[in-house]
Amino acid sequence: MCARETEAQRDSLITFSEVMLMSTFIELKKNLKKDMTGFPEIRMAITGDCATQHLATAVAGAAYEYGLNMSVFDADYDEIRAQITDPSSELYENRPEVVLIDMCTEKLYADFCNLSANERKNFADDKINQMAGYWEMLLSNAKCKVLQFNFPERDDRVFGNYANSIDASFIFQQRKLNLVLMEEAAKHPGVYIIDLNSLQSRVGVERFCDSKLYFAARMPYSTEILPDIAEELMKVIVAMRGCIKKCVVLDLDNTLWGGVIGDDGLEGIQVGELGIGRAFREFQVWLKELKKRGILLAVCSKNDEDKAKEPFEKHPEMVIRLEDIACFVANWEDKASNIKYIRETLNLGMDSFVFIDDNPFERNLVRELIPDITVPEMPEDPAEYLNYLKGLNLFETVAFSAEDAGRTDQYRAEAQRTKVRESFGSYEDYLKDLQMEAYAGPFDKFHYPRIAQLTQRSNQFNLRTVRYTQEEIEALAADDSYITLYFTLKDRFGDHGLVSVVIMKKEDGYAFVDTWLMSCRVLKRTMEDYIVNTIVSTAKSSGFNEIRAEYLPTAKNSMVKDIYKEKGFTETEPGKYICKVDEYKVRDTYIKP
């Protein structure tokens, strides 16, 4: 359930600061009394050097809005060191899936002031060593992810503007610390920085904190900002759980350019230097950056297709080109039907779509007919599109790999394959013609990020939906009690890259399939058969004559509920399967190793 933006913003919120105000602290607090039956549970721990009780309340209340039943262990005041360094602490006893470290700038400043002038120059370096030490202890003592607040900037103005040239000034060291936090987080998979400093700079210090609350109760955040902080945390937490946006569906006229292509013609539409065209051009630059990050762009426009495509092909100032669009739909059907068509073509969950259209009628229609899709209420002035959409922070993610950048090409190749498929008499002929080649190998360090990312993202073809961080994947690869496999696939139209992951645990007398997931892009190419063949042969060569497997149902993975049965495994009890290696019949595929 990530549809909160859509609901909360129906009341036409326009300016940036208003967007941030979704629920009040009191509303979040009241959520805790609501019925959460059926919500997935999540355990979080918070430890801080300030009063964290209200933050804990706000996060648990915000979790309800995302359809999660969150239990929070809120450690006592200023116990970070004790809770993290002692493996038998209450924090570890609570087996948190997520640990938040809440260190406040006020405390940081107090520490800084206790140092001599010489020590101050090394303040950021010393602090980051301490913090990275905490992270490493947490990661090794608990199977958890770590969320770390960075430090909202406060300049004590002791040196005035000259503080920027003084490495022993507080603001110098604090900014450096925020920078090295990013560098260290990049080296620690499983650690995620929550950018409170960015939040504070958006809303201003006045709104962000209430000094008397810190003096009276050691609360570094104002009551009014707690929902925003909770929101930032929840966005990262749901992204960890695989709930992320993967595709932006774009209207064209007055959304991607000013004017109406059908009326104004190629020379008349505004993009680039003409009229208000700079706003649209800048918007396109941003969309292209999203595309480079791996977000798919699709077009859904009420237009004749050739007219709609013309600006992409011929307009010199268009930033987005046809090859940037994974799926292009322009016709006179209603937009909800067209979006459903795009969804089927790209094979993604509806809740991973964002629909951007300047027309309130279309927005409402799509919201009405497709409840899961996110439809931002766009500002009237195209000059505000960008700030508004950036403010919503719709594209939170917890992983990035080199393959992301090429995702659009893969989907475009898929669209071509679909066209070829239509021209073949039989599906088998088509599969033969694809000239598919696969590779299977144990996890290696080159692929750790992509493997971890797939375990985070895959929802549909995922038998047990176990999520792994990159660090956990590394540990599995090195662990002799596991058999790990990744699969790549290519064909004559292009390379799909890494499409499937299998993890088997060596048990006494059998191998247990802990994880099997596959990208839906390569469904029904006999890749499933190739993988099962490989699972069986790999188990055999590791000395096992029995494989056990399991299907754990989620809201999204019903497509694979019978796959083990279909591939020749025997169901022993509901959702549990067994396969005797020497009785297994190797399945036919159209894939060459």
Binding site: I26, K33, H54, K212, A216, A217, S222, T223, E224
Partner: protein
């Protein structure tokens, strides 16, 4: 805004903060009279009254108010 109006609005804030519409606070009400009015609730109450009346308490008010009557004195002064 009259003192009565202020008191009525303060009661609304109490209902909201404590999520209990049966609470009735009067001038002489203290923290001991309201179940759950602990130091944490006090902070929430302060913030919510501030936003309800569009005013700010000072720190001495946060730590020094002895009963609802004193709270009303401060609000009355700030909104007049």
């Amino acid at each position: 805004m009259s003192r009565e109006e202020i008191l009525s609005k303060v009661n609304d804030v109490f209902h909201d903060v404590f999520d209990d519409d049966s609470i009735v606070v009067v001038e002489s009400t203290t923290a001991d009279d309201v179940e759950d009015w602990d130091s944490l609730m006090h902070i929430t109450l302060i913030s919510e009254i501030e936003s309800a009346f569009g005013m700010k308490f000072q720190m001495k008010d946060v730590v020094g108010m002895k009963n609802v009557g004193e709270m009303l004195d401060i609000i009355e002064k700030a909104v007049s």
